[in-house]
Symmetry: D2
């Protein structure tokens, strides 16, 4: 997908449907998170490695735009990229498409803050993480 280099594949689960017969709109938050974690897993050590350095990442803002209902069993491709790193903040963007039809089902972004894992106070994105993330988008 235009502007994205990384994606991960998912299948919509039956328990994720609701009585409207389609996937509940809260589930997309989980898909974004799965995509973001898979993206970060490309970095040596990944998210667990980050946590080991005493840094944790909290979500501070979330935006989702829903384009099309997703049905049980639909195969989805969740694209993501880290689109901005500034101070303690990281921003990720997402686009989820239906593999079968190619249609975009949702897109959105999340904003995160790096925090000291013990004090939970905001802390600058560590330079090694910034470099690792920039390498992912530059390659």
């Amino acid at each position: 997908m235009e502007g994205f280099r990384f994606s991960t594949e998912l299948t919509a689960r039956f328990n994720e449907t609701d009585a409207q017969g389609i996937i509940h709109h809260g589930v997309h938050v989980i898909w974004f998170e799965i995509a973001r974690i898979a993206y970060l897993a490309q970095i040596p050590g990944g998210y667990p490695g980050l946590v080991e350095t005493g840094i944790d990442v909290t979500t501070i803002e979330l935006h989702i735009r829903y384009s099309e209902g997703v049905r049980f069993g639909d195969r989805l491709r969740a694209w993501t990229r880290c689109s901005e790193i500034r101070g303690a903040r990281l921003r990720f963007e997402y686009a989820v498409e239906n593999v079968e039809s190619g249609a975009r089902v949702a897109d959105g972004w999340t904003s995160h803050a790096c925090v000291n894992a013990s004090t939970l106070r905001a802390t600058r994105v560590p330079p090694e993480l910034t470099e690792a993330l920039q390498r992912l988008e530059a390659d």
Copy 2:
């Protein structure tokens, strides 16, 4: 809370926590929905009454700003209002506060489209719904 007339109370559930020890950021979507449904329940017939008229409401956009972590057992007050009705669109705003501390833990908004329940095509917000919603905010 300033600007809101309606709220509903909730308690954060243990299964809603994650390994960071606080409520997962996907759960707030559910709190917004619970608040919205409770708000609509003030209208005679409520959401089920709406569906009986052949109208359904789908979520088309969602925004959440997280201010403070929520812990298992925290009692929360979720404020909501319908802030805009235009064409087929409805917009709801939310603010969730910790009952104990009074601190705001999150706020946000959702945007919805009225659709014909059988064709799923967008349809104007029915005038009776518009009136009922306006009465709620005017009283």
Copy 3:
């Protein structure tokens, strides 16, 4: 309900429904947990107090019998009791009824082990917990 002294009330949430139009059968596990935690909250200090003494409780077995579908908005009463304490094991029993109709919608039981919170090794149910639980059922 026959044999139970304690209950807590719940409302079935919209996001808990699935495409069959009723509450997904995985949600009952959460209702059992909510009832169990509310039951334990009767003990001075409750579950958090227990954890502070260095004890944690893990679930080792679960059984649910589903009698009747639950619909979005149904008000439920979840009854629970601690029915057995032996060695490191605790057993809880549950019955969930529809408040409106009085019908039983599900019942079941869970079995738990007390563990040392740091080593996660099984440890005898602390005598103070045994006494507190017996008092709850004796009163």
Copy 4:
């Protein structure tokens, strides 16, 4: 795994963890369901095909035995089989193992009733379904 011919692979999601740092015990119900649906997908037409014939399947009983905690990111193999067909009833058995360690993390079973999708009354397992399920276990 001894006694099973069919399995499907899963990865434990971050949002499935709870504040004890491991996957919440309610998530196993979903893994069982995913395994059961994947198993039924081997039948021409699968579960959707069944529903099209006017038959639906409801869960009437569930049993889980938890052997070992599962952590975020753990890869799991969920084995399943249909172990009994009698009248309107189907029974499935499950075993979930950690792919990395080979350790069993949980096992259990579910019992289901075939119902007429419109009346929701119990109805005999259709002979074509019985034959298809027996073929899966005989091959």
